[in-house]
Subunit: 199 residues, 2 copies
């Protein structure tokens, strides 16, 4: 089922792989992102993470203090990453689409976030800044009768939807949520929807 059937690690360090803690850390984080985003914290197995990284599972304890430590570190990293997303210059529609594409290209972050939300884990993310949305509203990018906060939440919801409710996509559209067809269709429709919200 997994790539490595018996971990035959005969040639562990062909050349490149001498001993490199930074590399190991990175490999574990990547593998953990795969596993956790796929199965959630409770469903993920440290053995699988280690296998995926091609490393010994003990290293998870060594580097991150255990399964939970690794999970937390992953959350922190995601936060750092997401913080670089605001771009006040771009029009709202473009911002949404940019975010949507990111979500399509790598749904792991969103899946992880939803999993954290479902398990009720409380991250200490700061209060979202709405001044930008209000500015856009004043500039006519958003209808006056709408609450910027609500529109923002709606955007989160529709961007995450393909990842959080793939079954609904299949049910409604009859195509795969990760197919180019759906990608294009959803993107175009979201564009139109936000245009409707501007009028």
């Amino acid at each position: 089922m997994h790539g490595t059937s018996k971990r035959p690690r005969r040639a562990p360090t062909p050349e490149e792989r001498k001993q490199c803690p930074e590399r190991s850390r990175r490999l574990l984080l990547e593998a953990a992102m795969d596993e956790f985003s796929e199965k959630g914290f409770a469903g993920a197995r440290v053995q699988d993470i280690a296998d995926r990284a091609g490393l010994n599972k003990q290293l998870i304890t060594y580097y991150f203090g255990g399964k939970e430590g690794l999970y937390r570190e992953l959350g922190r990293e995601w936060l750092r990453r997401e913080a670089t997303f605001n771009d006040p210059a771009a029009p709202f529609e473009e911002l949404l689409i940019r975010y949507l594409r990111e979500a399509f290209d790598d749904p792991r972050g969103i899946r992880l976030a939803v999993w954290q939300a479902l398990t009720g884990e409380v991250g200490d993310e700061p209060r979202e800044d709405l001044s930008d949305m209000r500015r856009r509203q004043a500039a006519g990018e958003l209808a006056d009768d709408l609450d910027p906060a609500a529109v923002l939440l709606m955007c989160y919801a529709v961007v995450s939807a393909p990842a959080t409710m793939p079954h609904a996509v299949r049910q409604i559209f009859g195509i795969e949520p990760d197919s180019p067809e759906f990608r294009g269709r959803w993107e175009e429709q979201l564009r139109r929807i936000v245009r409707h919200l501007a009028a």
Copy 2:
């Protein structure tokens, strides 16, 4: 942490509780709905389910053939329930709000569905019927440039949002997702949004 510290079940059948398989089944299903919707399949513990139901955990095997059987039965039940939701007569806005209130009153179904989606479980739900949406569009309830399928998916997304991304609600609105304040505000905003989509 749990209600029964040591399960002191001294008076097991005070009066009402003689021996009633139907009651036991129902209790287990209810408890399972709580646990699974809260922690997902992998995170839920049969012991906790049994405790919550005030019954012995072996009964889960007895009635449902094990943890997984119980989980499946829950999914089936939810499908049966959701099938009774269509109401072609009501205006679209009211339909959405009705669904939203249901979700607020008991988010367990939605949480369960999202969990199933995240774990990649494939239910065999039939293809969604869009003819109703198309009729509404023709009747002017929905702008012509919008894809009925996309609007439907958006509705699912925004209705589920408070349950699937409570952290976002706190972050953006600064209030609790299940507070009456948020309920009212979100409902009102969704009304306005769908009105924008009709124009």
